[in-house]
């Protein structure tokens, strides 16, 4: 068991900067997901942590021990790969036993440990099988077994369930999270799937273009994103962005454009006044934070037109067109709308985020 620290970690491939000044402090027993689109540097970061890539600069500590220049075998970590990387020439038993065999543990101890791991993962009946005879889900479990059998100080997982079908993936999310909690092993989990990250992680590290954007609990990431990228990457359907101008009038602050003018609640203004130079802003509003009305209720109304509605059973998503853009709204399936119908949208300003349009950073 150990905490993990990455300090000013950089990785360049030729002229390409894959990871830039990554600072990440992962607590003991914690599960942190590295989340981001492909090419954001999350896998490279994990591979540096594993010792499979040498950092261009920076240091990595695992349990206060500087492992930056150590080879993978000396780091006391276990890794689960995207393609499972099971040794095809060995049986399931031999695959799980492999790290123990390398350590030259006595035979009966190896047998005991492998059987324990197999029991936890419910693959006891597969131990004599060859790797080629396994389904994707079984391979995934064997790969997990090979990782947990050695009781390492940290698990590194690189998109371990991305090749499973949707149903099995949803099942494995819960399984892996429970396993991690039961074993209490510090885990770094790489994924591009926000649902995986939000549902499994204690904290999520969102990365983009090699730079860590935000590290926080799933709640913080969702409700209080530091910038437009994080706000836009998390959430399905994605957050809606509406452009406006910041206007100060008679001691009050407004966000305005041709269609609407919203007064910013007093408690939010204090934050805003710290950035008086910002004029052009972007409101970020989650699809669940809107409500739809068929007439303008008060000042807080955005005029829009129904583009299409997608009933999903428990909820429905209504796409509304507003200034050549589509605003997605999640509502109760009881609300009936017609294509082309004029409606008014209101939203909860407390839950909306205001971003600087130029820098993309959150300003309130």
């Amino acid at each position: 068991m150990a905490n993990i620290q990455m300090k000013k970690l950089c990785k360049n491939f030729g002229n390409v900067k894959a990871v830039i000044d990554l600072d990440l402090d992962i607590q003991d027993k914690e599960m942190v997901c590295l989340l981001g689109p492909s090419g954001c540097g999350k896998t490279t970061s994990l591979r540096m942590l594993a010792g499979l890539e040498r950092p261009s600069s920076g240091t990595i500590l695992i349990g206060e021990r500087d492992v930056t220049d150590l080879s993978p075998r000396d780091r006391d970590i276990a890794m689960v790969f995207e393609n499972y990387a099971l040794y095809p020439q060995m049986t399931v038993f031999e695959n799980i036993a492999f790290p123990l065999r390398v350590k030259k543990l006595p035979k009966d101890e190896i047998k005991k440990k492998v059987e324990e791991a197999a029991e936890i993962l419910e693959i006891e009946n597969l131990l004599d099988r060859g790797i080629t005879q396994l389904s994707g889900g079984q391979k995934q479990r064997v790969a997990m077994g090979r990782a947990i059998v050695r009781n390492p100080s940290a698990f590194l997982m690189d998109e371990p369930i991305s090749h499973l079908d949707a149903k099995l993936r949803a099942h494995m999310r819960g399984e892996i999270k429970r396993l991690q909690k039961d074993l209490g092993t510090t885990t770094v989990y790489v994924t591009h799937d926000q649902l995986e990250a939000m549902s499994m992680a204690d904290r999520v590290a969102v990365m983009n273009d090699g730079v860590l954007q935000q590290l926080g609990t799933p709640g913080e990431i969702f409700n209080d994103p530091v910038n437009e990228f994080v706000a836009g990457f998390i959430g399905d359907p994605p957050i809606n962005f509406i452009d406006g101008q910041l206007v100060s009038e008679g001691g009050k602050m407004y966000i305005r454009n041709d269609e609407f003018s919203f007064e910013i609640p007093q408690q939010r203004v204090s934050v805003l006044t710290e950035t008086p130079s910002v004029v052009f802003v972007r409101l970020g509003i989650r699809p669940t934070h809107f409500s739809i009305h068929n007439k303008q209720a008060d000042q807080m109304g955005i005029p829009a037109e129904v583009y299409i509605s997608e009933p999903l059973g428990e909820v429905q998503i209504i796409d509304l067109s507003f200034r050549d853009k589509i605003i997605k709204v999640v509502t109760s399936p009881d609300i009936k709308t017609e294509i082309g119908e004029k409606v008014w949208l209101s939203f909860d300003f407390d839950k909306a985020n205001i971003f600087n349009k130029e820098t993309g950073m959150k300003i309130g």
Binding site: F13, L52, S71, P72, R73, M79, A85, Q89, F98, R146
Partner: protein, 276 residues
């Protein structure tokens, strides 16, 4: 869906197969038969397919010349070349396949281009070097010369075979506690075994039947079978039955060898044609 074929299709199918087999096997069978014919039977037209077999040609061939010695040379040179090429070629291929080396594609192609080089053009320079190094008429000299032409082939083929195996296997092994070399030996090498055999076959066959360099670089001591066979053809006479006996002796080991490894041979020949 597999389409059902009629009788006519199969008749044509087998006729074509039989024709192809006769076309390719006839020279070998003819060589084999000639080696058991008496000198008189050889020149009969049309050729005799039924005759009284004799071992005279074999006895003459192996007593007139030290063929056993040449045979031994061929074996040493072929296997020496193959082993050296495989060891160094596979290691080079591993580096080219697995490490980020600047211009590794260009290096690979450059290595392959050596193989495209016409051997005759390199023959004289190689002869002069060998002379300087006093390697003329030594088996080691011949092994060096053959390795020059086998190594590029091994590097190129093995590089492709290694690329086809996911790198994560070795990485997993390294995380599991092996060094890079151990991961290479314990994880990658067992998976490469069929590929190594396939490539080895080509190396053995090339070295076994090579003529030009053996002719140039050997005199008596290190001479190999193909060159010695050509020496049955003299200005005075051509002893075809002895040429055939020695020729048969030359091809039998390759035939036996190929028979045992034919599974791998197909793999080597069809590599890249189908995705595994």
């Amino acid at each position: 869906m597999v389409k059902e074929h009629g009788t006519f299709y199969w008749v044509i199918f087998y006729l074509v197969i039989i024709a192809a087999v006769i076309f390719f096997l006839y020279p070998v069978v003819y060589l084999f038969m000639t080696s058991f014919k008496s000198r008189l039977d050889i020149y009969v037209m049309p050729p005799k397919f039924f005759f009284v077999p004799t071992l005279q040609a074999w006895v003459d061939a192996f007593t007139k010349k030290p063929l056993f010695h040449y045979f031994f040379n061929s074996a040493v040179v072929s296997f020496g070349t193959t082993i050296i090429s495989l060891v160094f070629g596979t290691l080079a291929a591993y580096a080219l396949a697995r490490f980020r080396i600047k211009g590794s594609k260009d290096i690979s192609f450059f290595i392959l281009s050596i193989r495209m080089f016409p051997p005759i053009a390199a023959a004289i320079p190689i002869f002069l070097w060998m002379k300087q190094l006093e390697l003329i008429d030594t088996r080691f000299g011949l092994i060096c010369a053959y390795t020059v032409f086998n190594l590029p082939f091994v590097v190129w083929m093995m590089r492709e075979f290694i690329i086809a195996i996911p790198q994560e296997l070795e990485e997993a092994a390294m995380v599991d506690g092996l060094t890079r070399m151990q991961a290479f030996r314990r994880i990658l090498l067992p998976l490469l075994r069929p590929s190594l055999v396939a490539v080895a076959i080509f190396c053995v066959i090339f070295s076994w039947s090579e003529f030009l360099f053996s002719f140039l670089l050997t005199q008596t001591e290190a001479k190999t079978m193909p060159v010695s066979i050509s020496e049955f053809i003299t200005w005075r006479e051509v002893t075809w039955e002895q040429v055939s006996a020695a020729g048969t002796a030359l091809i039998i080991p390759v035939l036996v060898f190929s028979f045992f490894v034919q599974k791998y041979l197909v793999r080597g020949l069809s590599f890249g044609a189908v995705k595994e």
